[in-house]
């Protein structure tokens, strides 16, 4: 049941441009990029071999928290093949720390605490894996062997790895600047209004929730290859990264003090990101810095163990949440208190994840009139925490949908009914937590999901399972997300230190072939195909005649990159704006060729036509004329056909949907099987349903992984990372999932020309609550902690005998 049905909403204000039946937009076109990926011709960062390259290995802290008493590098420097060894002491004073791109101002009006994040440890290490030194050698093996000869004399210090421990009085301080480990305390919403709602509530549901820490685990480890050219005093960095322009801006302007135009950052094929490759990391920054000193390229590729220790992690919230309802189950108010881990240092966007991308989503799909949320961000002796697929929105959905499902059970209201009673039905809708939803049809997705999940047949299946001694449960999750980041002025007023627009350039070649340059970055999302479809649809040319270039600051005007399901909504729109300019110029050229006025020319199906006639010139002829301007209005128009556009959205987009999970539990062992998972989502208009479904599947696997399998665990006493390999961290495998049932409904986004909302994170956002709600439904438990391992489920089965 993976066919996508599109239900048109006739009354929508969204432009329905270029959605011609039979055209490339909306078609299941096989991906252009697959040809190279399937034949081993892809080029990932570790595949890049530069002449005379050297190899780096990092010496990392084995302690969660320690003072460096002494650091001896002589033995390493003398080891075979070693070219250089650098430590924190070698980094010049002028080199800054790794910056955080979002300033959160606390409820007390003070800015968040921003302790320096040195690119190599200076004086102290603050988490297991904190880089202390870089060893550069002729071969990777020699670098690794010599790294073991770097002698660091550590004085181990007490560490805190759990946010609850970090908040205790007398807890060891991760940074001297934050003696209580608090980075900020921030709040959103009207507290008095929320309190008043609770005062008049007929029912209050309260939950204590832990959103488990996850390790992103893109299968390609982080990697870089940095080189310096004496010829023009410039640097080139190949790096596995999701947003090369941002990487360059942060690295040059805030850390190394290099001229931005003297650094080229190339993010070639990138083997998955899921957020973890958004950030500016220490390793590539050190390699760029050292490449000039060494005078040869420096290559570094993380081993998987280093990925576990040093990639930015995700989630890690502890939350107390309450929902106030009237006697009919209508929501009156919500109060949420969350403590969120930042880790040992503020990663690039760490501070905005549990605030701007979390608390603002607590209205969910519902008309909850009063919401108040307070977030305390704390430092811990762990790897930094930042955006991981969904980034704040999975945490918000988990709070809302666990509350809603629990309240329904406590009040004896059917899961679909409590949702229907509270759904927002009129748009635009301003929530009490700062967002304005432009459009949606939540009931359509709920109905769609219930149909996919065959809710009507569930009682029979449950009965049949009971005969076999098994427990069955059904869990709902109706999520919403804010994507398409974002209006820069809004983001700026909330603390963003960067713009959040996107850039696109459309270069029409003399023969009418097209190269598109996009600031978005594809690391699995299929932009080379989807963006080509969009352009092909508008220009009326073949998808094969369009190439999409991404991931290179040397070729692309600018870009904010890929995160927050923004690529089609923001990057795609920037491209469309550039195409509009191409068409506008082409119309003038065509008018000249046909000797009519510009206003009399229209463009469709790849032809410029004189209105009301069949007189026309094809697109390719206009392109050729632009470059061979013999018969051309040179007095009015420049030759050439190459246009760039920057697009800054006017609002977020709001994908939403309902996911329904059906589990079967063996009460003897606690083993929990997902027997069915149904997702009905509204992503607005869809360019390539095949790719969209793939995005949903992948997101679901990560969401179900969080709910059932995955957890990053640090030892609470020693601060050691206990899940530092695939032997310990439960990566989901094929046999952990059923085939997914996915479907879509469409309410086009009202404020971008494609009517698109974004689809990359939906699965990871919706799934965790659906799974846990299903387990609670099956067992009668009020809560089961994620990941709901067999042991945890076995325990709640025992504790809740007879309650299901």
């Amino acid at each position: 049941m993976t066919d996508t049905t599109v239900r048109e909403k006739p009354a929508s204000a969204a432009p329905q441009r270029a959605t011609k039946p039979g055209g490339p937009i909306g078609a299941r076109i096989e991906r252009k990029e697959d040809a190279r990926f399937l034949t081993g011709a892809g080029q990932y960062t570790d595949d890049v071999a530069l002449p005379h390259q050297t190899y780096a290995s990092f010496v990392r802290s084995p302690h969660a928290h320690a003072r460096i008493r002494a650091l001896r590098v002589d033995a390493a420097k003398g080891a075979p093949g070693v070219i250089a060894v650098y430590t924190g002491a070698d980094i010049p004073q002028s080199v800054g720390g790794l910056p955080c791109g979002w300033l959160i101002t606390g409820s007390d009006g003070k800015p968040m605490k921003e302790p320096k994040h040195p690119i190599l440890a200076q004086g102290k290490v603050r988490h297991v894996g904190d880089p202390v030194a870089i060893v550069i050698a002729e071969s990777a093996a020699q670098a690794k062997e010599a790294a073991q000869l770097v002698d660091v004399d550590y004085e181990a210090l007490p560490a805190v790895v759990d946010v609850r421990d970090a908040m205790r009085k007398g807890a060891p301080a991760v940074h001297d600047e934050a003696p209580d480990n608090v980075c900020y305390v921030w709040a959103l919403g009207d507290k008095a209004a929320a309190d008043a709602a609770f005062a008049k509530a007929a029912h209050v549901t309260t939950l204590q929730l832990v959103n488990n820490r996850l390790i992103p685990n893109a299968i390609e480890p982080r990697a870089c290859n940095a080189t310096y050219s004496r010829a023009d005093d410039s640097y080139t960095l190949y790096v596995a990264n999701q947003n090369p322009h941002v990487e360059r801006l942060l690295m040059t302007a805030f850390v190394l003090g290099l001229p931005e135009h003297k650094v080229r950052v190339i993010a070639p094929d990138v083997g998955g990101g899921f957020g973890s490759k958004i950030y500016l990391y220490a390793e590539e920054t050190v390699c760029v810095w050292a490449s000039k000193l060494v005078g040869r390229p420096i290559k570094w590729t993380a081993e998987r163990g280093e990925s576990f220790q040093s990639d930015a992690h995700g989630r890690d919230h502890v939350t107390r949440a309450e929902l106030a309802l009237d006697k009919d189950g209508r929501f009156l108010g919500m109060r949420v208190q969350t403590t969120a881990a930042m880790g040992a240092y503020l990663s690039t966007f760490a501070s905005c994840i549990p605030t701007i991308l979390y608390a603002t989503l607590l209205a969910g799909q519902y008309r909850t009139p009063a919401i108040h949320c307070e977030v305390t961000a704390v430092f811990t002796n762990t790897a930094p925490v930042d955006a991981y697929r969904g980034a704040g929105r999975p945490e918000a959905t988990y709070v809302v949908e666990r509350l809603v499902a629990t309240a329904a059970r406590e009040m004896g209201i059917a899961q679909d009914q409590i949702r229907r009673r509270n759904f927002i039905r009129e748009f635009p809708y301003a929530t009490p937590v700062a967002l304005t939803y432009d459009t949606g049809d939540y009931e359509a997705c709920l109905d769609g999901a219930m149909k996919l999940a065959d809710v009507a047949g569930f009682a029979k299946r449950k009965e049949e399972a009971a005969k076999r001694g098994k427990l069955r449960g059904l869990g709902y999750s109706s999520y919403i997300e804010a994507c398409g980041l974002a209006p820069s002025n809004v983001a700026g007023s909330l603390g963003a230190r960067a713009g959040l627009f996107e850039a696109g350039e459309v270069r029409v070649h003399p023969t009418g072939k097209v190269t598109v340059f996009t600031g978005s970055h594809s690391h699995g999302q299929g932009h080379e195909t989807t963006f080509a479809q969009v352009v092909a649809g508008r220009l009326g040319i073949a998808v094969e005649d369009i190439d999409v270039v991404h991931g290179d600051t040397g070729r692309i005007p600018f870009g904010m990159g890929t995160y927050g399901s923004r690529s089609i909504a923001v990057g795609g729109t920037a491209i469309m704006k550039a195409v509009d300019k191409i068409v506008a110029k082409g119309r003038k050229i065509a008018a000249h060729l046909m000797e009519v006025s510009d206003a009399d020319v229209e463009f469709a199906d790849g032809k410029f036509t004189v209105k009301g006639t069949d007189k026309n010139v094809p697109f390719a002829q206009v392109a050729l004329t632009a470059y061979v301007p013999h018969n051309y209005p040179l007095d009015k128009l420049e030759p050439g056909l190459d246009e760039t556009a920057f697009y800054d959205p006017t609002n977020f987009t709001y994908p939403a949907g309902t996911h329904i999970c059906e589990v079967e539990i063996d009460p003897q062992t606690g083993e929990t099987k997902i027997v069915a998972f149904s997702a009905c989502d509204d992503f607005g208009n869809i360019i390539n349903p095949m790719i969209v479904e793939g995005q949903v599947h992948g997101g679901l696997a990560q969401g179900i992984g969080q709910a059932l399998l995955e957890a990053c665990v640090y030892d609470r006493d020693s601060g050691q990372l206990l899940t530092g390999s695939y032997m310990d961290y439960a990566m989901p495998r094929a046999a952990d999932f059923p085939s997914f049932r996915v479907d879509t409904r469409v309410t086009p986004c009202t404020h971008n020309p494609l009517g698109v909302k974004g689809c990359g994170e939906a699965g990871a956002i919706g799934a965790p609550a659906a799974v846990i709600n299903a387990i609670c439904d099956a067992t009668g438990a009020k809560d089961v902690a994620m990941p709901a391992t067999s042991e945890r489920v076995w325990r709640v089965v025992r504790e809740n005998q007879g309650r299901a």
């Binding site: 096989e30 991906r31 990029e33 697959d34 040809a35 190279r36 990926f37 399937l38 034949t39 081993g40 011709a41 892809g42 080029q43 990932y44 570790d46 595949d47 071999a49 093996a141 685990n217 893109a218 299968i219 390609e220 480890p221 094929d269 990138v270 083997g271 998955g272 899921f274 590729t301 081993e303 998987r304 690391h523 699995g524 999302q525 299929g526 095949m690 790719i691 479904e693 793939g694 599947h697 992948g698 997101g699 679901l700 696997a701 990560q702 390999s725 695939y726 032997m727 990566m731 495998r733 094929a734 046999a735 999932f737 085939s739 997914f740 699965g763």
Partner: protein, 156 residues
Amino acid sequence: MKIPFSLTVNGKPVSTEIEPRALLVEFLRGPLQLTGTHVGCDTAQCGACTVLVDGKPMKSCNMLAIQAQGANVTTIEGLAQGDALHPMQAAFRKHHGLQCGFCTPGMVLSAVGLAGQVKQPSEAQIREALDGNFCRCTGYHNIVKAVQEGLADMTA
């Protein structure tokens, strides 16, 4: 000290000398520049480095190159016949069984290695059989569909 090393890679004979400690994946990605074989974990769990050694899927990060002395090794670069994709590659493309492409070479070669093991394997059997290959992008849904069709096409 290097030792003599001969084998066949993608149908071509290779005779050279290698460091005894060189891993097969290092030999393929380094001297032979066959970078389609990827390293995702260096500990034999993720399966991105899977190649066929005498027709059997092997994790090339977890065997010494010298263990392939005299063997017939097939990497992802050697699977297609000219421009014609192998049926398994074609099935992955048709069913969108890949996204970022990093696990793909190993996944495809593991799937090719399943051929002949079970006749017309069920979805559950395929899921179990892919136990040694991680994919973080696709949720395995389309991979399973692709493998099912690829195996059927291989025997057709």
